[in-house]
């Protein structure tokens, strides 16, 4: 993570973009402070001070279940992470929401390359080769469950299935810049979890 992302992030915070996924970022004297949005007014929080602590906070949900998808809306509350430098802040946010600051910067600079889901599935091999057979309807059935912001994933979908966005999700799921105080989470390509879910769907209906 380099200086351009640090510089962009500091600019966004200056603009008042202080929310990222389920996290609120604020300046506290010489520190940057991160906490869960649900903890806005909380005082009894567990204190952390290293960017690596973000890895562990992000690894488990409130019930102690592993979170393979870091942009799932299951970040646990109850913690406060105080960091000294912009570099530490970028690293912590990279652990909380991998590749999202860089994707956001690339999207704002109109250089984020977007891959249709059909292309993602077409290049799969091995255990995922079966997903090449998915119809648009198969893909949409899975996307409707796995990518929905309530329970699935908080990212904003930028990719089409083939030449149109997936049907069945609300319009705001595809709108990147919709709130002035938010650093958006752009999804430029279907992730491995989605591909794996499409595989399971196909296996199930073909059984």
């Amino acid at each position: 993570m380099g200086r351009r992302i640090e510089h962009a992030l500091l600019g966004w915070l200056e603009e008042g973009r202080t929310r990222l996924g389920q996290i609120a970022v604020r300046r506290d004297g010489d520190f940057f402070e991160l906490r869960h949005l649900d903890d806005a007014d909380a005082t009894a929080l567990d204190d952390y001070c290293s960017p690596e602590d973000a890895l562990e906070i992000a690894r488990w949900d409130a019930a102690g279940k592993y979170r393979p998808l870091k942009t799932a809306p299951t970040l646990r509350a109850g913690w406060r992470l105080r960091l000294r430098t912009a570099a530490e802040l970028v690293l912590a946010l990279e652990y909380f929401y991998p590749a999202m600051l860089a994707s956001c910067l690339a999207a704002r600079e109109k250089r984020l390359s977007v891959t249709p889901l059909r292309d993602t599935l077409a290049r799969q091999s091995g255990m995922y080769a079966i997903t090449r057979q998915a119809t648009v309807e198969d893909a949409e059935a899975v996307i409707g469950r796995r990518c929905a912001s309530d329970g699935g994933c908080l990212k904003t979908i930028l990719w089409p299935v083939e030449d149109a966005p997936p049907r069945g999700l609300p319009p705001e799921k595809f709108a990147l810049e919709r709130e002035a105080d938010v650093i958006p989470l752009p999804c430029a390509e279907g992730c491995n979890l989605l591909v794996a879910a499409i595989r399971r769907h196909l296996k199930r209906i073909q059984a």
Binding site: Y66, E94, P98
Partner: protein
């Protein structure tokens, strides 16, 4: 010593959608290398987690980028998946004005033999090695004939040193199968070392079932109070099962060694 303040290092791992411990060594080695400040940027990318191999190049800003696969073997992932996902043309790829330098996986490094032997000795301290069968356990796959090659190389090298009564390789998904360890080995003591990167789903949960240590997969390693107690008395033999070799902190040095080796082998490439 590697000192590349204008370069980025990306450590490429497998990751997991089901096991919380799979990415832990990769992140730990990255944090250690970051602490040493030998690269301008250090980050990780994964096949099954994010940042993905597809996303990660966005996150680094250097034009000179070293990619080191934190994989134990040259095989399906290092030869097919990573090059495909990252659009690599070979060891050196020029992509949008940036130079991508694709190093060999950590498992190919000659020092892995010492890492493996150290792990075997620590797992069965005081047990006479001449009366011990050392089983190096790999994944193996029909998807790529090279997948088991790293384990087979280790078997040859350690057997050549003559320290252990016998040395064999065994696999989850190709012959000889790890489930057959009783017939594959003859010594009263058996030390099985998983030639894996993490104490993840395969090495911590699947292989103990294949060995007969567990009847069904346990919870993930990080969810248990005790890692595992050795030895396990099975069919009149004393079986010791090790933690994966990729969890050795020394792997951070192996990653840097792979960068140095890349530079030696491609000396004409501009930095």
């Amino acid at each position: 010593m590697v000192h590349k303040p204008d370069s980025a290092l990306i450590i490429l791992g497998h990751g997991s959608t089901v096991n919380p411990d799979s990415d832990v060594p990769t992140f730990a080695h990255a944090a250690e290398i970051r602490r040493r400040r030998c690269f301008g940027e250090v980050t990780c990318a994964f096949w099954k987690e994010e940042p993905s191999f597809r996303q990660v190049l966005l996150t680094v800003e250097s034009d000179d980028i070293y990619l080191v696969p934190n994989f134990v073997s040259e095989g399906y992932f290092t030869q097919k998946i990573i090059p495909r996902e990252m659009e690599l043309a070979g060891p050196i790829t020029e992509l949008g004005g940036r130079m991508l330098k694709y190093c060999e996986p950590v498992g190919n490094h000659p020092q892995m033999t010492d890492v493996l032997l150290r792990r075997a000795r620590e797992t069965a301290p005081g047990v006479p090695t001449a009366e011990t069968s050392l089983v190096i356990v790999g994944h193996g796959t029909s998807l790529n004939e090279n997948s088991g090659a790293a384990v087979k190389r280790q078997v040859e090298e350690i057997a050549r040193r003559g320290e252990y009564g016998e040395v064999i390789g065994a696999f989850m998904e190709e012959v000889p199968f790890v489930t057959d360890w009783r017939s594959l080995t003859t010594c009263p003591h058996v030390v099985a070392v998983p030639f894996f990167i993490a104490d993840g789903e395969h090495s911590y949960q699947d292989i103990p079932v294949l060995l007969g240590i567990e009847t069904e997969p346990t919870e993930a390693a990080s969810r248990r109070d005790v890692f595992r107690r050795n030895p396990h008395a099975i069919d009149g033999r004393q079986l010791y099962y090790a933690s994966s070799i990729g969890t050795e902190p020394f792997i951070a040095d192996v990653i840097l060694e792979q960068v140095a080796r890349f530079d030696e082998e491609h000396a004409a490439v501009p930095a």
